[in-house]
Symmetry: C2
Subunit: 256 residues, 2 copies
């Protein structure tokens, strides 16, 4: 396993997975860590967030997962930010799951290949697609921790239940235990429903809760200027919130 | 084909697909139409929106897609709203795509099975998962139209490009032509970025644009009371907006 592999995961769509990886990666670099961000979504949202063109890469995370002759070193690319590399994704990932199902040790492909470059990075972040496919399982198996972005909305409850079942399955079937952190996103405490929902989350997840990410238009703007908010909007709420999360995830007391 | 089959589709997550199917279905019932809503997402967000328990059904859309002996009539269930039925989903859909890939005529399974009950409904709505899998293709092939909910955000541009490629592929490979409508969601014109984005969308899609759905907390609350907003919050912005969309989609001039 990587020293510190963190999957940012939730099969519910649009909760802020990519926004979290993009901005947390920047925040971890500001904490002096060497970071690799892995884009595992066919939409390649993380890749385009850095202003990169998914179709410009001969090999991407699709090849890393489905081609035995592709190593991690073959697909690592620069992001333009010192100390932060990326493994880009492309649209072919949309049908990778079918190819993966036929492969032996299909859940451990990422973990095995990333071990070879593990010493080059302090943290590896995985941006997962909005599903619980073999690709997402690969990220979880290669990780020591999982961060679950959650909106304060009705559909989040069932999403977390389904996700918890997957974590329990990994522990039972593969003896793979993750430290799981909940990350409330798009938080606006002026909205009554949000406040009530947050109180429920805190009662439910107790010391498994990271501090909330507040709603901030600058987080939606950052990919338009191709830089995480910690660089493009350093004084913004969003930047401060992700810097705090970076410190929370690095704090020794947090290591499960 | 069904007289009027509408796929609500966008591989970008969290843009308002389920919210659109849930509330548009209610609005179409108020227009006097008999409606079937088909849940094709493993998250079963649409199923739980009506207060239904996905695990309480012996057979769901998963079986309709993967089991030759399951007919549409076998999986149709009541929603509690007169004139509105549902085909529920369940978590097993998460691995249905792999089973589908092995089947002959895999893209036409839904279309063929739904033809048998087509005369019972005026409109069939499909709530698609956040990907462009064989399941989503099945919905598109069974449809005459596609509604694409879009947020006014950076990631929407690439999402629509990728989606348009899929529509073009269907037309070229299967001679299947869809009337495609863009539906701006979560619109708040007080936000400058939203206004600018909307102007860009209108210039780009011209007469393919439906009227916007404004941001409305009641739309997020409606699934908590298990009834579309047109019934649970009839005076709300969200309810009015979805009633207008229902009329726009039914208007003869719209029929592509
Ligand atoms: N804290 C926040 N404040 C404001 N906007 C946010 C925040 N977090 C995310 N967003 C916006 O919400 C939308 C969804 O976020 P994002 O695309 O990161 O979610 P995701 O979970 O990666 O989606 P998908 O399931 O499609 O991969 C984006 O337009 C993003 O800019
Ligand atoms: N017009 C709106 N105003 C306010 N909230 C909205 C609106 N439309 C959708 N929402 C909220 O945004 C969130 C995402 O919507 P929804 O779950 O319908 O999207 P989706 O595209 O179906 O997501 P997925 O990709 O996970 O299937 C939900 O919490 C929903 O309540
Ligand atoms: Mg994403
Ligand atoms: Mg949905």
């Amino acid at each position: 396993r990587v020293r510190k592999g963190i999957s940012v995961v939730n099969q519910k769509g649009g909760v802020g997975k990519t926004t979290t990886v993009f901005n947390l990666a920047g925040a971890l670099v500001l904490e002096g860590r060497r970071v690799l961000a892995v884009d595992l979504d066919a939409q390649a949202s993380l890749t385009v967030s850095f202003g990169l063109d998914p179709s410009s890469y001969a090999r991407t995370s699709h090849d890393l997962l489905t081609d035995d002759n592709t190593s991690a070193a073959d697909v690592i690319a620069a992001t333009g930010v010192d100390g932060l590399d990326i493994i880009p994704a492309d649209i072919r990932l949309a049908s990778a799951d079918v190819l993966l199902r036929e492969m032996i040790m299909r859940e451990r492909i990422l973990s095995t290949k990333l071990e070879k470059i593990a010493d080059r990075y302090d943290v590896i972040l995985f941006d997962c697609p909005p599903n619980l496919s073999t690709i997402t399982i690969n990220a979880l198996v290669a990780s020591t921790e999982a961060v679950v972005p959650m909106e304060t909305q009705f559909y989040s409850i069932k999403a977390v239940d389904d996700l918890t079942r997957t974590f329990n399955l990994l522990a039972a079937r593969m003896n793979h235990h993750l430290a799981v952190w909940m990350l409330p996103t798009k938080i606006d405490l002026r909205i009554k429903l949000t406040k009530e929902f947050l109180i429920g989350m805190e009662a439910n997840f107790k010391d498994r809760m990271l501090t909330s990410i507040r709603t901030d238009a600058n987080l939606a703007k950052a990919p338009m200027v191709k830089e995480p908010a910690v660089f493009s909007f350093p004084a913004s709420r969003g930047s401060r919130d992700y810097r705090r999360i970076a410190r929370e995830l690095l704090a020794p007391v947090r290591a499960a």
